[in-house]
Structures are given as structure tokens and as C-alpha cells.
Symmetry: C2
Subunit: 484 residues, 2 copies
């Protein structure tokens, strides 16, 4: 195996840091407009980030444009960590968050589109910082689109190559042009949806600022809000339905939205993952709505809206809140907890295990029973009308089992710090799945502020591992990855 | 596919019912000896069971001795259900348990060697019934030895065929002689261990009756006790260490004990599953012992013994209790909960997922990372120095994922009846894993009496599904199993 090209890695990281600093500068502009005194801190963060970015970019050599898979793994993991490192500077320099652990937690929770927060008084923050906080998620979402649609399938991670044939763009044999083309097409949709949602939320009664921030964090399935009460702040069913719609779109494979915009609706309705995704949303919403009517005595309209909102918010791993689901009957709380493992569709900005993997794991269990009945018959598993190869199936089952194992070990680790079982369980589920709120002390009406320092760093690492589909990060810890 | 031979199935079930009635008669004898008034009820139950057994046996035709895999599936599932149906008659006829749901729950919890109880005042029961209750577990253990060592490997279930080459006995191509030979050899060990343990417990200070009952339920990894306080009743470290030893043996592959008795210790120490099993026991015991010393301020000796006892009791899925682990720090409670998924070794009487499967799932996760680094290399997974075939690996991964899926769905179902999260989670984990006690309202100092009727039937079915390694029961619900 050949040497890792450090020059290329540094060069790309430098380039991306420059982009990050541009977004910081933009936040500084917003801050200047509102004139709230956070401008200086934001400009300082921009300066530091851009100087480091420019230095890395120009001092490194990038003569060889062809990066290999190994470099791709290193770059992907490093980008999220380094972005979070520099991204936390605005919080520190403006004095919005007082210690580095909290600032890093809040930032990586942004870039990984998780949305778990340590802030106790969000409304007290200046507009520039609130804007930066929202835009970390939007950038994270952009990164994830490229990652899940263009990079992970080529790296062969977790069955992501299953839908590669469906992705619009040039043939998948060359990494560079494919990333470029695919990114441009799908980012167009991402930006377009963000724009439309912002306008609708503005019409619905949000200020333009809140509308933009929330559409950023909706499309990223991030869930950061500019209000402590999240979406419950606006007592508007129009706003809630707009956000339900766009959370649902953000949790849908963006290539399907591409087909939708080209009026190829048949392709959407025939898509197996989409049908399951829609099916799960309807199933769990109906289940919760009926329970809310029977057990909580809620009205029909409110029940349907609250059920839909919470189910779509959790299954897409957004994490916006309109109701305190911890006050619901335990049965509903458990459903919310189980939903934390689902996640959005592949090729969406959603986290979690992803609908495709859940479905293939369920199908495989059923097929294994059929294989036992007919031990000599070859019964291949099909998904989206294609046979799932043994390699991909093995990778998906490994993904599922590693997810469960990491969950189990992490719960043990969190329980050393956290006395209540539901807090320990759900803090792991919600960060590993990049959702945001959990149960117990990290429930929808609380946040992660009171966790000990080690717990915050540990959960930060879970956000990263979950966001990068486990393998991308874990592979860096295998000796064979580093062997020549 | 050919027709299912109903005659053979009925014939075998009749034969087994006759055996069950013999054990009932034996319990009636014990009852007669103590002269406590439960003799009549036990004799009536014996009569009903034997009449049904004899009728089925003689009225059915069993001309064709070769049963196929399909008949084997049906027989195995039916045996446990029918044994539990008739096995609950002694509780009903003697008035020891007042409603049929509770009696069935107590009995299937016996035959599946689970040990979850609905009894609130065990000591008030007459000796004959206590003996019957213990012996249901011992019979269940006997059944499991045959099942896991002789039948399941041939059916190809959950990777059980992995250690078939290791099993002493004739070659595995013929079902009938193999079951016979293997059963006789390993039952010999089972009975021998039971005898030795009973003598040791008697020496340790138990009455002969208690000693026999507890050695029945230890070797079956069942966990029924004749005392409400379980093993904590005897304040004797000798008794506790004897039970630790025999729980450990019962959770060890019985073929290894066979080698041990033939002084082939090298074969035991080289056995990969045994090394992991021992490793897990040591690891978790040390972890818990240290925590007990630091956080609970316990003495060294007591900490080691309590840690060892609870770890061995839960990991082997026995479920005896000497300490209220719910009063420990949450961290330790979570470890106990996670241990509920481990289970004993393959070829033992322990339930759960089994050490072999846990290890292979972990290994496969790691190997998948290596496969990603070297996508073109063939990296086969080895266990016990043998390559695990793709079919077996697929079956084990399917087992793991089905176990997790059943767990998730069952927790949702239990949460409709059970307000506390830890009760919902642990009642499923402890019945599916055939352990016995759980957390919360079904913790070590409580029992399953207060659950609603539907909950008891639901958990009963989980005991059955878990005990029969999932597939054996689930396969009966696939349409292709019944198609000609």
C-alpha cells in the first residue's frame, strides 16, 4: 500500500476552512446589521479561521489530484473535527459560551446536524451567533449530501452503494467529477428547498431572521431553534405543517426530489425505501394520534398534528419539538425512543441507521427463515428490484450490529455519570442517531448542560461516529488501515 | 415437499407426555412423604397427563421412524407448549395457584428454564409442588441439551452447526442415532453434576430437599428457589460458592465437561468460546467488585462474592439472587441489564444470545472494517480455528438482528401495560433471554404477579421464542413452511 498523501489532505482541509471562514464572515455581517456587539468576536473567529485555512492551502502541495480511498477516509473524519474546532471560536470569542467543552459540544452538535444543545437561554444570544449556530447545521447538511451520495457509496460503506445506480450524474468510476456534478445538482435542490421554506415560514408569521434560521436547520435535519421553546414558541399550525413538510423532504433521498422536480413522480412512488419511509411515518403517527385522543383526551386535529410533528421530527432525526413527549403515556415515550434508531432515508440529510438498512435487516431476518425451510434453494434478497449482493448485505448487517454494540457499550459508559436509566439510554440514542433531544434529564424540555465534562466529550464523539456512518471513523482505529 | 407426518408427531408427543407424567408421579411421591395434602392434586394431574399421553401414543401410527426437519420443528415447539399446558395442572389441582394464566406462566417459566415467578409466598407451598416446580426446570434443561447439541445443529439454526464437529458421538448425518447417543452421554454429565451439587449443598447446610431442588434449578440455569429470598436465604458463603461453580458449569458447553471428565483439559483451555465466556465473567465481576468496594463501601471478600454470584447468575441466565442489584449504583444496574443479552455458551443449558454469537458478531464488525481497507482481499472470519462459512455467518447475524428487533417491538408492546421504562425493558430482556428477574417492578426483590393477564401471556411467548433459539418457533409462522 502506498504512502498517505499528507499534502493533498492538508490542501483540501485548508480549502474547506476558507469556506468555513466565509460563512463566519457572513454571520459577522448579520451581527453588524443588528449591531449587538458580537461583531468583533465573529470577525476575530473569521480571521483566525481564514488565516489558518489560507496557510494550509498555500503551504501544502496538491499536485496529484487523485485522492485514494484512504485519504478520503482521513479527510472526511478530519473535516468534521476541524470544522467543529474552529466553528466553536465564535461562541468563545463573543463570550456566548463560557467554557471550551460546551462550545465544542454545541458546535459539533451543529455540524453533525444533531441539535443537542447545552444552552439554557437561547433567546439571550445575539443574532450573529444564532445565525452562526443555525448555519453550522446547514453546512453540515451540505457536507452530508456530498458524503452520502457521492463519497460513501464509492468507499463501499454500509450498503450506500445500493442506490448509486439511481443517482443522477456521470458514471461512478471517477471520484472527482462525480462529487462535483452530483454536489451541484443536489445542492441546488437543497438551497431551493431552504429558500422556499424560509419564505413560507416568513408568510406564516416568523420574522425573516427566524424563518431563515429555521429553514437552515430543517433542511439539515438539525433541529437548532432560535427559541428555547423550539417550534412550540409559535402557536401556529401553519408553521408546524410547513416544518413537517420540509422535515419530511429533508429526510427523503435528495435524488428522489431531483426526480420530483423533473416531474418523474412514478419513480418516487416506485422507490422501495420511500414507500417504507412514508409507511413508517403514517403507521407511527396514526398510532400516536389515536393514543393521544384516547389516553390524553386531546382533540382530533391537535392529536394528528402533534403526532405527525413529533414522529417526522424524530424519524428524520431533526429534533424540533412542539410537545413534551415525556408527559405522554410511557407507551408513546417508548415509541419515540425506538424511532430514534430509524433515521431518514439514504441520500437524505437524516441520521440514524437509515430506513434502507432497517428494512434490509428486517427482510434478511425473514429471508433467513425461508432459507431454513429451503436449505438448498438460493433465495437472494432484493431491494428496489435489485438483488443485494452478499458483500453489501454483510456490510449492512455489520453496520446494524456495530450500531447496537456501540449503543450498549456507550450506555454503560454514560451510566457511570448519569444516575437515571432513561437519561443514559436516550442521551446515547439521540447523539449516535444525530437527533437532538432525548428522554429524562436530556428530554425535550431540558438540555445537555448538566452533564459532566467527560460525558459531553464522549457524546460529541458519538455524534461524529453516528454522522459519518460508523465505519468512516472506526476504520481509522484499525491497525491494518495504517499499515503500508 | 411432502406431507407432514401427523402420526409421528402425535406419537412422539404422546411418548413425551408419558415421561412428564412419570415426573409428576415422582412429585406426588415426595408429597406423600411429607403428607401435606397436595398428593391428591398431584395424582390427579399425573392421571390426566398419563391418560392423554398413553392415548396419543397408542392411537397414533409411527411406522416411519425417519422424521424430517419440518416435523422436528413442529415437535420441538409443540413439546414446550404442551408440557407447559399439562405441567400447570399440578398448580391448579392443588390450589397452589388460583388462575390458569398464572399457573401457565409459572410452568412455562419452568420448562424454558427462565425462572420468572408470579409467586408471592413460595415458602407456603407444599413440598410436592415445590419439587414439581424445580423439576420442570430440570426437565427443561434436559430438553435443551438434546435440542442444542443434537437437533438444532442439524436444523442449521443460528450457527449451532459450528461446533457440531466437536460433539462426541456418531457422525451427524443421521438424526435418530445421533440424538440418542449424544443425549445419553451428556445427560450422564448433567445428572452427575446435579448429584454432586446436591450433596455439596446438603453438606453446606441446606436440607436435603432444598439441596436437591436447588441443584435441579442450578444445572438447568433455571433459577427457581424454594425460598422467597432465593439464595440470600442462606447466609453461607460456602453455599454461594458451590452455586457459583455449578452455575458456571451449567453455562459451559456440556461437551467441554465431557472432555474435562476424560481429563482432556487442553481441549477446554483451547476452546475459543470457553475463553471468551471465562473472560467476560472475570471482566464484569472485577468491574462490579471494584465498584462495590468504592461506591458502596463493601468489604473485599463480600464484594468479590456478590459480584461473581450476580454476574455468573445473569450471564448463565440462571437468575438466582443474593443481592438486590437495584440498590447498587445505576452503572452496575446497567451492566446487569446488558449482561442479560449475553447468555451462556452454546451446548449449555443457558439462554440469551450465547457467547459464541456475541463474539462472532463483534468479530464480524471488526472484520468488516478490515474488508473495507482491503476491498479485494478475502478475509474469512474464523472461530475455534475454523472458517465460519458465509451461510453460518449470515444465520448468526440474522439471529442477532431478529433478537434485537423482537426486543424492540416487545418493549413497545410491554410499555402499553407497564408505566415504568425499566420494567418494560427488563421484563422483555429477562424473559426473552430466559433469565428470571429483571429491573424495576420485576426486579430481584419483586416478581411478575402484578403484570396484567395479556402481559403474562405475551412474556410466556417470549420465553418460548427465546428458549427455542428464535428460528424454531418463528419458522412456523412463515407461509413457505406450510406450503407443499
Amino acid at each position: 500500500m502506498r504512502i498517505i498523501k499528507k499534502g493533498v489532505i492538508i490542501n483540501i482541509l485548508g480549502f474547506l476552512l476558507i469556506i468555513e471562514s466565509v460563512f463566519m464572515l457572513f454571520s459577522a455581517g448579520i451581527s453588524l446589521f443588528y449591531g449587538e456587539g458580537d461583531t468583533k468576536g465573529l470577525l476575530l473567529a473569521t480571521l483566525v479561521t481564514s488565516v489558518v485555512g489560507v496557510s494550509l492551502f498555500f503551504l501544502s502541495r496538491n499536485t496529484d489530484k487523485n485522492i485514494s480511498k484512504r485519504e478520503a477516509y482521513i479527510i472526511v473524519s478530519l473535516v468534521w473535527v476541524i470544522f467543529s474546532f474552529f466553528g466553536s471560536l465564535p461562541f468563545i470569542f463573543t463570550g456566548s459560551i463560557h467554557n471550551y467543552t460546551d462550545a465544542f459540544f454545541e458546535t459539533i452538535s451543529g455540524f453533525t446536524t444533531t441539535g443537542s444543545s447545552i444552552l439554557n437561554d437561547i433567546e439571550s444570544l445575539p443574532h450573529g451567533i444564532l445565525f452562526w449556530r443555525s448555519i453550522t447545521q446547514w453546512m453540515g447538511g451540505m457536507g452530508i449530501i456530498v458524503l452520502s451520495i457521492a463519497i460513501l457509496p464509492i468507499l463501499g460503506i454500509g450498503g450506500m452503494q445500493l442506490f448509486i445506480a439511481e443517482v443522477p450524474g456521470p458514471s461512478p468510476d471517477k471520484l472527482h467529477p462525480r462529487i462535483r456534478e452530483t454536489a451541484i445538482r443536489l445542492w441546488g435542490i437543497y438551497i431551493g428547498f431552504t429558500l422556499v421554506e424560509a419564505i413560507l415560514l416568513w408568510i406564516g408569521g416568523m420574522t425573516l431572521f427566524d424563518a431563515v434560521c429555521h429553514s437552515f436547520t430543517t433542511m439539515a435535519t438539525g433541529g437548532y431553534s432560535t427559541k428555547q421553546a423550539s417550534i412550540a414558541y409559535w402557536d401556529s399550525s401553519f408553521i408546524q405543517y410547513v416544518i413537517i413538510l420540509f422535515m419530511f423532504l429533508a429526510g427523503t433521498n435528495f435524488t428522489l426530489s431531483y426526480f420530483g422536480l423533473h416531474l418523474r413522480f412514478k419513480k418516487i412512488l416506485e422507490d422501495e425505501e420511500f414507500r417504507w419511509y412514508l409507511g413508517f411515518v403514517v403507521l407511527f403517527s396514526v398510532l400516536i394520534a389515536i393514543s393521544l385522543i384516547i389516553f390524553q383526551g386531546e382533540a382530533l386535529g391537535i392529536s394528528i398534528r402533534e403526532a405527525l410533528f413529533q414522529v417526522v421530527s424524530i424519524i428524520t432525526t431533526t429534533g424540533f419539538i412542539t410537545a413534551d413527549y415525556l408527559s405522554w403515556t410511557p407507551f408513546l415515550t417508548i415509541i419515540i425512543f425506538i424511532l430514534m434508531f430509524f433515521g431518514g432515508s439514504t441520500g437524505s440529510t437524516g441520521g440514524g441507521m437509515k430506513i434502507m438498512r432497517i428494512v434490509i435487516v428486517i427482510k434478511n431476518g425473514y429471508y433467513e427463515l425461508r432459507r431454513l425451510v429451503h436449505p438448498n434453494a438460493v433465495i437472494p434478497l432484493k431491494f428496489k428490484h435489485h438483488v443485494v449482493s452478499p458483500q453489501i448485505l454483510s456490510n449492512i448487517l455489520a453496520f446494524f450490529s456495530i450500531y447496537v454494540l456501540i449503543f450498549g457499550v456507550s450506555v454503560i459508559i454514560m451510566s457511570t455519570m448519569e444516575p437515571s436509566l432513561d437519561t443514559a439510554f436516550s442521551s446515547v440514542a439521540t447523539t449516535l442517531g444525530n437527533i437532538g433531544p432525548g428522554l429524562g434529564a436530556v428530554g425535550p424540555m431540558d438540555n445537555f448542560y448538566n452533564l459532566p465534562v467527560f460525558g459531553k466529550w464522549f457524546l460529541s464523539s458519538l455524534m461524529l461516529i453516528g454522522r459519518l456512518e460508523l465505519f468512516t471513523v472506526l476504520i481509522l482505529f484499525t491497525p491494518s488501515f495504517w499499515k503500508r
